[in-house]
């Protein structure tokens, strides 16, 4: 077992914050997750090591709305490595008031199969 194959994670399952140690066989497969205090942490370590995902929430320009921005999110979790790129892609979007919650403002962002949708209604000012 070489130290190169060990990655450390902080479990986010509860405030105990167990320090997880994930051992990898070098090909991306998990050999063992250590350091967990419960099953949640064991599963989290595996998921976070093999396929970490995040929901991205940001806001986009809206013309004629009560506020200058309307909040949006990804309709599902996207790979963690794409978070910044997704945010950048969304920065160029501009919509027009009124708009309803759940409206798709950018479909299939970066070919992830995930849409960018509004998270509130916004009426015209």
């Amino acid at each position: 077992m070489s130290a190169d194959n060990i990655t450390h994670y902080l479990c986010i399952g509860c405030p105990l914050g167990c320090r997880l140690e994930v051992e990898d066989n070098g090909a991306g497969d998990v050999v063992e997750v250590r350091g967990w205090g419960c099953k949640t942490g064991k599963a989290y370590g595996r998921q976070e090591h093999t396929d970490p995902r995040r929901v991205v929430a940001t806001s986009v320009r809206i013309r004629g709305g009560r506020w200058a921005r309307v909040p949006v999110k990804t309709s599902g979790a996207v790979p963690k490595a794409l978070v910044c790129e997704v945010a950048r892609a969304v920065r160029g979007v501009e919509v027009e008031a009124p708009i309803a919650i759940g409206t798709v403002v950018l479909a299939n962002v970066l070919d992830t199969g995930v849409d960018i949708v509004t998270t509130r209604d916004m009426e015209r000012a």
Partner: protein, 420 residues
């Protein structure tokens, strides 16, 4: 969400709720459920919903709705219910005075100065952020020093960035969330400094807001100087010792144009003081009984005005009870008075409510003073509950069923959290 303009403001309501955030909305729904007819919810912003509109990240509602929502989604669901319940919503309006006989003075953008009467009042004004003045950071007084929540409103609602190079003081959740939010907008977040030896925010936020973007978190460190004449040009940070005294010999300068403060919340109790409500010195909020009624008859309180919560779900739960109790009060269905006073004991900072009655089930919220693992929460010798851990940053809630209190005949009940 359309908040309709309230055309007719009646001179008298059964229940008036001061504050239209998560607490106010749940209280309004509770008052309707328990029979109040004319209900008015007042908010000082342009729209009800409170701070949730600007908390655009997700993670709300897991307890309450059983799914993870963003703040705006949580707000909109509630506000839709409030409007469907035919509750009068008055926005752009301050309640600036209240009397013990429940006359409220309002200052309203659309209705001017008005006085209205209320059968019952629910105080749901929430909390505000501590500012630079609260911790007296030395240095110049340039622009560019603001609270994390204000920066959040700038970015998420007004579309304005607070600066280009940011240092964050305090590792509360709002500060961590803003570290990520600003990074996603292309702002450089240089680091988060926390005076305590441990982080204040959730581990989830430490990982997903800091680690994900390689933003450094420096513990036992604080800002000892802010420089700049017109605009912030830099700060000096220094490590602190175990008495939180900075060691200036190890200070270092950081060039930045913005300082965000995430250093805690203070319940907004100006109105509570107008009617001399009994306040709890630990929570800085009103003392409440098991119906969330304060020391003034017919005046109820809930949410962050009573004690600062960490999850909105519990605000909603507590506020629903306050609203229902206000409904009971105006329809003449008050439950029997409380007969047991809770006394915070070992490792318990406070309990809310402050008193209980033996005839009903209660949820008691409390906060501990220090972290403990494998411990027991004890209510005198009538109830003991084992828990895996307690943390000061995480509110504990525990259900007390009437059967536990059946044979309890004392009038005070001590609450302890002890090591097993």
């Amino acid at each position: 969400m359309i908040t309709p303009e309230l055309r007719h403001l009646a001179p008298r309501y059964d229940v008036v709720i001061s504050g239209g955030g998560p607490a106010g909305m749940a209280a309004a729904i509770g008052a309707r459920e328990h029979g109040a007819e004319k209900i008015l919810m007042i908010d000082r912003e342009r729209e009800a919903g409170g701070i949730l509109w600007q908390c655009i990240h997700h993670g709300f509602g897991l307890h309450h709705f059983g799914e993870e929502l963003t703040g705006p989604e949580y707000a909109q669901r509630y506000l839709q219910q409030v409007l469907a319940d035919d509750i009068d919503v008055l926005t752009d309006t301050y309640v600036y005075d209240i009397s013990p006989d429940r006359q409220l003075k309002l200052m309203s953008g659309s209705h001017g100065i008005r006085t209205i009467e209320a059968g019952a009042v629910v105080l749901a004004m929430g909390a505000r952020e501590r500012t630079r003045g609260a911790i007296r950071i030395p240095g110049e007084r340039p622009s560019g020093v603001l609270t994390a929540g204000l920066a959040q409103k700038f970015v998420n609602m007004m579309g304005v960035l607070p600066g280009r190079r940011v240092v964050i003081l305090g590792s509360g959740d709002i500060g961590l969330i803003m570290a990520r939010r600003l990074t996603l907008e292309g702002v450089e977040v240089l680091g988060v400094h926390e005076i305590m030896p441990h982080a204040n925010g959730l581990n989830r936020n430490i990982v997903q807001c800091l680690h994900d973007f390689d933003i450094p978190l420096t513990l036992s460190s604080t800002i000892v100087d802010i420089r700049g004449r017109e605009r912030v040009t830099g700060v000096t940070v220094a490590p602190v010792d175990e008495h939180l005294r900075p060691d200036l010999s190890r200070a270092r300068d950081i060039d930045c144009d913005t300082v965000l403060l995430s250093i805690g919340l203070i319940p907004e109790n100006e109105l509570s003081r107008r009617i001399d409500l009994r306040l709890d010195p630990v929570t800085s909020g009103p003392v409440v009984n098991s119906t969330m009624e304060t020391s003034a008859n017919g005046v109820f309180a809930c949410g962050n005005v009573v004690h600062v919560h960490d999850l909105v779900d519990f605000v909603s739960q507590e506020a629903l009870l306050a609203g229902r109790s206000a409904g009971d009060y105006v329809t003449g269905h008050r439950p029997p008075a409380d007969n047991i006073r809770l006394v915070p004991g070992d490792n318990v900072a406070y309990c809310v409510p402050h008193t209980l009655s033996t005839d009903r089930e209660h949820v008691v919220y409390m906060r501990v003073r220090k972290p403990m693992e494998k411990c027991t929460i004890r209510f005198g010798d009538v109830l003991s509950s084992k828990v895996k851990y307690v943390f000061p940053a995480e509110m504990v809630n525990i259900t007390v069923k009437p059967k536990f209190l059946e044979n309890f005949h004392d009038d005070t009940l001590r609450v302890d959290v002890v090591q097993r």
